[in-house]
């Protein structure tokens, strides 16, 4: 029953890339959680190791079945994900003013992370069915907009604007891949351009603050602007070769906010310099290109769009997170894949890699 060709076609390259990035992530995380604290707070590091272990198991599970199974169960997966988002609104625990986590014994899960994968699968299924040479019309796009809007709205409500935004961006990329009528496309671009200023009125006070602060960090030198200034100092002061493992002063003296989650790239840049941060950026770039390559070699529309979706998820998070800590973008809570601390993020990303491997190793079926 188990096809020998599956093993022959196993994507060792993608596994190597993942392990390399994950390895760098663990080293940096160790630094981020141990520096400055007396005694070093290793608990977070140990927890992350456990998450990695669990994530690997989920990754393996994600490529053992034929990905076609995901197409079959797409709706069920989607509904379960929406249900868990609703549950968060009612039973979630508050951390720092937002309700994002569901408690599972000693661990807590962030359903908004898992929702990314659910949206990718359900949209891939829809677009794979709808695919035609002519392209989709407005009517065809109603369903995917609806499917994206529900988790989007639920996540904005938590509030977690960063994650909601990533989901919208992933959906956008997948839609562009599914081919839209030229006329519809022009309309969409026009409407979108008009909507952007409108969004401003729906932002919460602190979210507006962040954008204004991004445009002019001196506006708020004690708040968000302070964090960006400190993050830039951390990255820049790493120079070519960095200050050395566990030697980052910005990190140890706690000038960095959230240094183990959203701002972990700054810790890497400070301690390993350009050598370290460039290595990580290049590895991410190869990983994304690899993902697009898997899509390009796949011969099944569901597989193609699925791979594009997963790749878009990784790409957007890398670009937004690194852009943010380098002061190229406003501060939004988006994790750096495989590197930031956080179980839900790690599991989601490894699940995504599992899906990519799945598509990659089954391409022969069509050859």
């Amino acid at each position: 029953m188990f096809d020998r060709r599956l093993l022959q076609c196993f994507d060792w390259g993608l596994l190597t890339l993942t392990l390399a990035i994950g390895g760098i992530g663990l080293v940096v995380l160790y630094s981020a959680v141990s520096a400055g604290a007396a005694p070093p707070d290793i608990v977070l590091f140990k927890k992350q190791l456990i998450w990695y272990g669990g994530g690997m198991v989920i990754m393996v599970l994600s490529f053992l079945f034929d990905y076609k199974q995901f197409e079959r169960f797409a709706n069920a997966i989607y509904l379960a994900s929406v249900a868990s988002l609703v549950a968060v609104l009612f039973f979630g625990k508050y951390v720092g003013g937002s309700r994002r986590w569901l408690s599972l014994g000693p661990f807590s899960l962030q359903p908004s992370e898992m929702a990314k994968v659910a949206v990718i699968i359900v949209l891939a299924r829809y677009y794979a069915k709808m695919i035609s040479t002519g392209g989709m019309s407005f009517r065809d796009l109603m369903m995917p907009v609806f499917l994206t809007a529900i988790p989007f709205a639920l996540i904005v409500r938590q509030p977690d604007l960063g994650t909601a935004m990533v989901i919208a961006l992933i959906a956008g990329v997948m839609t562009l891949f599914a081919k839209i009528e030229r006329r519809t496309f022009s309309w969409l671009v026009a409407t979108f351009t008009m909507l952007v200023p409108l969004v401003w009125f729906f932002l919460r006070g602190y979210q507006k603050q962040r954008i204004l602060t991004f445009l002019n960090p001196d506006r708020d030198p004690l708040g968000a602007g302070y964090h960006i200034i400190q993050s830039k100092i951390a990255i820049g002061s790493g120079m070519l070769t960095g200050k050395g493992f566990l030697k980052g002063t910005q990190n140890t003296l706690s000038f960095l906010p959230e240094q183990h989650t959203d701002f972990i790239f700054s810790v890497l840049s400070e301690e390993w310099g350009m050598a370290g941060s460039l290595t990580l950026i290049v590895l991410f770039m190869i990983m994304i290109a690899w993902g697009l390559n898997i899509a390009g070699r796949c011969r099944d529309p569901f597989g193609i769009i699925l791979s594009v979706g997963v790749t878009a998820m990784i790409a957007w998070q890398v670009l937004i997170n690194i852009g943010m800590v380098m002061g190229l973008m406003p501060v939004v809570g988006v994790t750096l894949p495989f590197v930031s601390y956080g179980g839900s993020s790690i599991i989601t990303m490894l699940m995504g890699i599992g899906l990519l491997m799945n598509v990659s190793m089954r391409r022969f079926k069509f050859e």
């Binding site: 400055g36 820049g236 002061s237 840049s269 099944d300």
Partner: protein, 624 residues
Amino acid sequence: MTNYLDNVDSEWFSQRLSVALTIVVAAFVILIARLFYLQVINGAELRRQSEINSIRLKNVDATRGLIYDCQGRLLADNRPAYDLNIIVKDAGPLEPTIAKLSDYSGIPEAQLWAQLEKAKGSRAYKPVLLKPDISRDELAAIEVNRWDLPGIMVNISPRRDYVFSPSAAHILGYMGEINVDELKQKRHQGCKTGDYIGKYGIERAREPWLRGKRGGQQVEVNATGQVVRVLSTVDAVPGNNVVLSIDHALQVVAEELLVDQAGAAVAVEPDTGQVLAMVSSPSFDQNAFISGMSHDAWNVLISDPQHPLENKAIQAEYPPASTYKIIAAAAGLEEGLIDESSSVFCPGFLKFGNRTYRCWKRWGHGEVDIYKALSESCDVYFYKLGQELGVDRLAWYARAFGLGEPTGIDLNHEGSGLVPTAAWKKRRTGISWQKGETLSVVIGQGFNLTTPLQMAMVAATVGNGGTRYRPKIVKTIRTADGKTLYDSTPEVVGRLPVSEKNLNIVREGLFKAVNSRHGTAWRSRLDGMAMSGKTGTAQVVGRREEDTDGDGQGEPIKDHAWFVAYAPREHPKIAVSVIVEHGEHGSSAAAPVAAEMIRFYLSGGSQAADTTAPEGSVAPGQGD
């Protein structure tokens, strides 16, 4: 899935993929360019900044607004408190330092270690609070031995100081550490864990005004954590000052009159509704809350049978007893059931159904008109009136006098009292109204419940000729530099549905209650001050059982004593309500308190007692 070749436009996909790849590469080129700019072009400069970077954020707490009385006496002040901190990183080996600290200061070592244990896992350079608000002796001992105590710091922070505590404790309230639920509330926006906020009284009701706005400083620190340079400052905005309508001298007089008794007294200005004094006895020490109260101390407070933490003036609900006859009389007159000349014979009791309802005066009042009924508080007169009025008509008037709902004073936790109706009883108990129950209600017993503040407002409204005001306790709110943000103006909430003629009949009855020889409050009359008032004796439920053992075991539970009054008779300047729990008779326990408050207030005692107000603050025409 049908034949994929029919569906997949391979050409299209591969073209899309190369566009995507191009965009991704372009985006990464931007990231790398930015990295290059930061780490290579700007690297040396940013490295230098990171080396001198010892920029830390320091919060600058805002000073809380002060609270004054209407004469400018300071009631709630701020004082400096000394908090003992340790910076673990600078302390070297911890054990000897803590041991020495304990030796010098006398603070038990276990207490210090407990605080350190709580702070475990926080960053090493961050100060850990060892003991808040240390005493002067402890401070002196530590300062003298500073050289021997590395890493030990004493920080000064402002703390609340209630100048006259426990006086006016229920009005001013107290402060406590903000809790998780409060942090989420909109009114506490800008607060963070560990902040102290108003939990009760004015401190709570006016929290957003009193708080002020936290400021911050970006400071550069040296290797030992000392501030070398202040880089930028956002100034803290001090809280606003609150001026209460309370006259503290009158407040103190009333508190002394009620000392060692449980009860409440409220004085208001009839023409404005401003509260002049509000006493709830016994009181508590607000300053005990400042640096956190021990569990035991808290338990003692909350298990005290006299409920010192409750503001009895607005929270406690008592049957109004005979003071309620003011309302019953107005209702009877207005409904045309009685008038100036009608009278009733009181033999000391009234038979109704198969029960006998007694008058408080066993041998009877004889022939009674409305004046005598009010001044001598004849129960039989009102029993008869109650029969004719019926409970629902009476309730309508009670509500028109402001009973049965909160007065709307600017303090939290106000009680609403209870005005019973037939429908209410049916809904509540499922049993129909019994006619006999109306006889209890009309003399203010039975289901009736009122707060002392409500009854003070009743007296004020009758006194001023029938205009109902909302009672107010905050007079003005000003910013620290004197700009007025709020100025209370009299707020009319209604008019009594009673004609001037009828109201004057009631007022005459109340005047006689104090100033005629047989009036119930004759002994409390004031020379030259024309006080009008009404006594009341509220039966305490369960009294009969306790009282009839007659074996001398324990005190029998005595009735609550009420007195409401206003003075002078025309254009009153003050209206008062007093309740003394278990004071037995309104005439002997409550009336003297109210009379003394009125005497003190009208004789200008407040100005005479005023020692703290700045010179020249006495208004023209009052200084003689």
